[in-house]
């Protein structure tokens, strides 16, 4: 059950700083296109900046950069939103925790903030800590009344399973809008858009990317993803909804790798929540960019046939 007091604290702004994610831009452009477009339909104008870089989470957790290097990078990205006096909206769980947690850390540690600001001052910027970071899924939940008003393509009869991912609910257990163990807000959104929620056992399991394990400890990573996929396969949903592009890429691409390595046949399409909302709001099929998906494309086409193109 979502924490309604937390949801009530989310403002409904006219404009929001849309924080682009690496994976969403470069591997699954549908997430970026649907994210901006759906927000526009819901009455929030996304503002982008091409000075915004990667959040720096990957290089930090890959231990290539020490926190001393990533904190100014976080501050710099957030200062871009502050310059425009806007809150930030991210599409990726990783960006969300990273910006939130390191932002929080700097806000509560004046010394560190001072030294970070010294570095930012050199390039004519300043970090104040006034921009709140929201995940696009929580924005959708906040705007759910607007969503129900704008549904043009009801997802009638589409069986949908959810995967929340780790870093939003787990990493931000006090700032997320739902409980880490039994989250339900995505289910509510799916209901609202007319879909059928399919429960499965391993819902709260991690996708298995493990940040760097997919590169360094590939066997561990594939093992874990296979457990997850087995459970999904059992429930046989038409699609699996994620809210993190990194989970998206793992669950989508590993299906193909497992099929290739082990002769199994996983074919569950994976969609980001932004794409699902975009689909329900009636965005053109080209904007959903399913062409960038690896697994379960036939099934996706089938779903599109059913809900109308």
């Amino acid at each position: 059950m979502p924490r309604l007091d937390k949801v009530a604290q989310i403002p409904k702004p006219e404009q929001i700083f849309f924080f682009k994610s690496c994976v969403a831009s470069n591997k699954y452009p549908g997430i970026e296109a649907c994210g901006t477009e759906s927000l526009r339909i819901l009455g929030v104008e996304p503002v982008e900046s091409d000075e915004q870089t990667c959040c720096g989470g990957f290089v930090t957790f890959a231990n290539v950069a020490a926190p001393t290097a990533s904190m100014p990078a976080v501050a710099r990205n957030l200062s871009l939103a502050e310059e425009k006096n806007l809150d930030t909206c991210v599409v990726c769980n990783g960006c969300w925790t990273f910006l939130n947690e390191f932002g929080h850390f700097m806000n509560n540690n004046a010394e560190v903030k001072g030294s970070v600001n010294m570095m930012l001052n050199m390039m004519g910027r300043e970090y104040k800590g006034t921009s709140h970071v929201f995940h696009i899924a929580e924005m959708y939940y906040r705007l759910k009344d607007d969503i129900s008003k704008h549904v043009l393509r009801p997802l009638k009869g589409v069986k949908i399973a959810t995967h929340y991912g780790c870093h939003y609910l787990g990493g931000g257990k006090y700032s997320a809008i739902d409980d880490a163990q039994m989250p339900t807000y995505m289910e509510e959104l799916i209901d609202l858009m007319g879909g059928t929620v399919v429960p499965y056992a391993a819902n709260r399991e991690c996708c298995g990317t493990g940040f760097t394990q997919i590169i360094n400890g590939k066997d561990l990573s594939l093992d874990h993803t296979q457990r997850k996929l087995d459970s999904v396969q059992e429930a046989d949903p038409d699609m699996l909804i994620v809210q993190c592009p990194y989970c998206h890429s793992q669950l989508d691409r590993v299906q193909q790798q497992l099929n290739f390595r082990q002769g199994v046949n996983y074919q569950t399409p994976v969609l980001h929540i932004a794409q699902l909302v975009g689909m329900a709001l009636g965005l053109p099929v080209s904007q959903l960019a399913f062409a960038a998906h690896v697994s379960g494309r036939e099934r996706l086409e089938n779903v599109l046939d059913r809900v109308g193109r």
Partner: protein, 237 residues
Amino acid sequence: MLEQVKDWDDDFYETFKPIAMGFVNEAEKCLQCGKCTGQCPAAAVTPSYNPRKIIRDLVYGNVKRVLSSVELWQCFFCSGCYSVCPMDINFPFFVFMFRLAAMNEGYGWEDVKQLEGYAEKSYLKDGITVSTFERNPFVMDNIGDISKIRVEAGLPPERTVSPRGIAEINMISDLSGMTAFMKQIGGVELLDCTTCTDEQAKRCKTKPMPSKVGKIKTHHRYYNYGEPGGKKNAEAR
């Protein structure tokens, strides 16, 4: 794995905490309840991995065991342990801090080396860590040109970061010593036993692992917390 109690550094954690800028707080409150291990995806696929034991060893100052372990490098950074922990111990932060410490001791460079390319070639050059590059031929055939898909979706063909933005993150990286650190990582050469020359094989002391060279000697890491992992072992238990 026998350790002598007298070897432990009792006040390690206490004195370490203030140095680490508050990244590794409150581990002394750990109840040793094991909830973290119970829900850990890494522990599910490898029987030796156990965040509870790592926390215990850090608080009691059994530093050698933690830093030289393979287990330290098996965490998925999923924050699941934090989400269930009754004492709010943010274990993933411990892991990335102590991985830095382990690197300082010479462990784990071969892992980080594989990731350094993302930082140097993608993050610092383009400002974006994950590039459009595809390694998997199947995916390449299946998807084709990503910029075409982007254009169809109504986006610019490529996502770019402005030169000013890139200059700024480069300065951050230079000033905070990250660039130098990356060079150091880049200096590690990975030797693969199948391609080693006789000369190199003779020099190689820790046979089974890719080791050394460049300026850093990377040490062999040990399964300090029990039987090596793998699906087979996990299910036998």
